[in-house]
């Protein structure tokens, strides 16, 4: 396995930021499009969003070296707007407070919530823009790097966005089941979201792997590591089968059976989506091979 400068902290960040942004969008979609189906899903999505992205950002800060020991150095992080990290810092600093205020408003928590309740629509519009930016940015961050040819493709942000949407929806659905287990019947309507986003994720992942096989020597090394090399058991079992195929099939059944599917399977499908989302990010980061220079 090639040595990556980034490890599990960055992988966790990429996953949590995507899931948090996706959960926000799931909450907004539920509140705007289907307020009478499931209040629980909108509530769960909004409550999970801010904390998930905040914990993810904490992982990002923990991965810093001098910037962790001498935190005032972090002020320099917005110095270079050519750097995706500078943009990420700006997007995250805006999105995290908006997500917390939105959660307070939607759930009427404290005086902040009572005040924010009057401005739910603007919070939903601004927050959705920032959530999309957060989810896409996690992919752009690694896609602009020409030191790792496998990542260096516009398919990466699309893949990460689709995965962020499905993992965010999974978080919101699990949260809704925790808040009110009887709501699980109504969740069938949202299973269609899983069907769509898992299909997009699977399709883009397939494109990425196939095209990487012929794109360059180094991208092919990475792709081969995933499909037949040392990372292949994890790729096929955790990402393809458990992370995409099984929840995809379960979600189709869930959508058509409308509430008749056992609760355990509904919750299980969402947990598998989360497992797949985390594994996908880990495998993409750890399979990145450097250019062959000599």
């Amino acid at each position: 396995m090639p040595e990556s400068a980034w490890g599990w902290l960055i992988v966790t960040y990429l996953f949590l930021a995507g899931a948090g942004a996706g959960a926000f969008l799931a909450a907004v979609a539920c509140d705007l499009l289907a307020p009478d189906w499931s209040k629980a899903l909108a509530r769960a999505g909004s409550l999970a969003s801010g904390p998930l992205v905040a914990v993810g950002t904490a992982c990002l800060v923990l991965d810093l070296e001098a910037g962790l020991w001498e935190p005032w150095r972090q002020i320099y992080l917005v110095n270079n707007l050519e750097s995706m990290i500078s943009w990420g810092v700006i997007v995250l600093s805006l999105f995290i407070p908006v997500a917390f205020v939105y959660a307070a408003g939607l759930n009427e928590i404290t005086f902040v919530g009572r005040y924010a309740k009057k401005y739910l629509k603007p919070l939903e519009i601004v927050g959705s823009g920032l959530a999309v930016a957060t989810a896409v940015y996690t992919g752009v961050l690694i896609a602009v790097v020409n030191g790792v040819p496998f990542w260096n493709t516009p398919m990466m942000p699309v893949l990460f966005f689709a995965s962020a949407m499905s993992t965010g929806l999974a978080v919101a659905m699990l949260g809704a089941a925790v808040i009110d287990i009887n709501t699980i019947r109504t969740l069938s309507n949202f299973a269609l979201g899983h069907v769509i986003f898992l299909a997009v994720e699977g399709f883009v992942l397939m494109l990425l792997v196939f095209m990487s096989l012929t794109r360059s020597v180094e991208a092919a090394i990475s792709a081969n590591m995933l499909i037949s090399g040392m990372l292949s058991p994890y790729f096929w079992i955790l990402v393809v089968v458990l992370g995409i195929l099984v929840p995809f099939i379960l979600s189709i059944v869930e959508y058509y059976e409308y509430g008749a599917m056992p609760k355990l399977l509904v919750v299980g499908a969402d947990l598998l989506v989360l497992l797949g989302g985390m594994s996908l990010r880990a495998l993409i980061v750890f399979s990145g091979s450097p250019p062959q220079v000599i």
Binding site: E65, G67, L77, M84, G288, V293
Partner: protein
Amino acid sequence: MPRYGIAIDTTRCVGCHACRVACQNQNGLEPSEAYNWIKELERGNFPSYSKRFVPVQCNHCENAPCQRVCPTGATYTTKEGVVLVNPKTCVGCKYCMEACPYKVRILEHKKGIVEKCRFCIEMVREGGIPACVATCPTGVRIFGDLDDPNSEISRFIAETGAQPLRADLNTRPKIFYKRS
């Protein structure tokens, strides 16, 4: 203002690693840390076998990917075209290490910052040459001004057709290699 570069004649390299040790001494590095390496390129099977040593270090790219991705602006290019890291503003996010195609940046855990070959710029500004160039017993490296057509390095590049590593990556490196 000069535009510094190094020409490397790989046909003269015997793989003694003196350049690496000189660099470590000059920059006060731990034995496990280095700003330059000697990579070994093996071809064929015995008896049709050859081995070539290729010294690798920061290429001080004119279009430096590490500088472009550095969020704090800690990575900068001096007026002599030398890419340096400001130890006071680097936060150690390691984005530059991912972005560098040549993988020649290292994390200095003690200082919490990312460092790399500095072309021994303090010595060079006082009229000296980098430690790796001065130390090499077989004269593999030539240091000089790429903008001066009469400099030894410019003549060497013109005569031998020395090329940078992976010119296709459009980073415009300033280290040129004579490969055969």
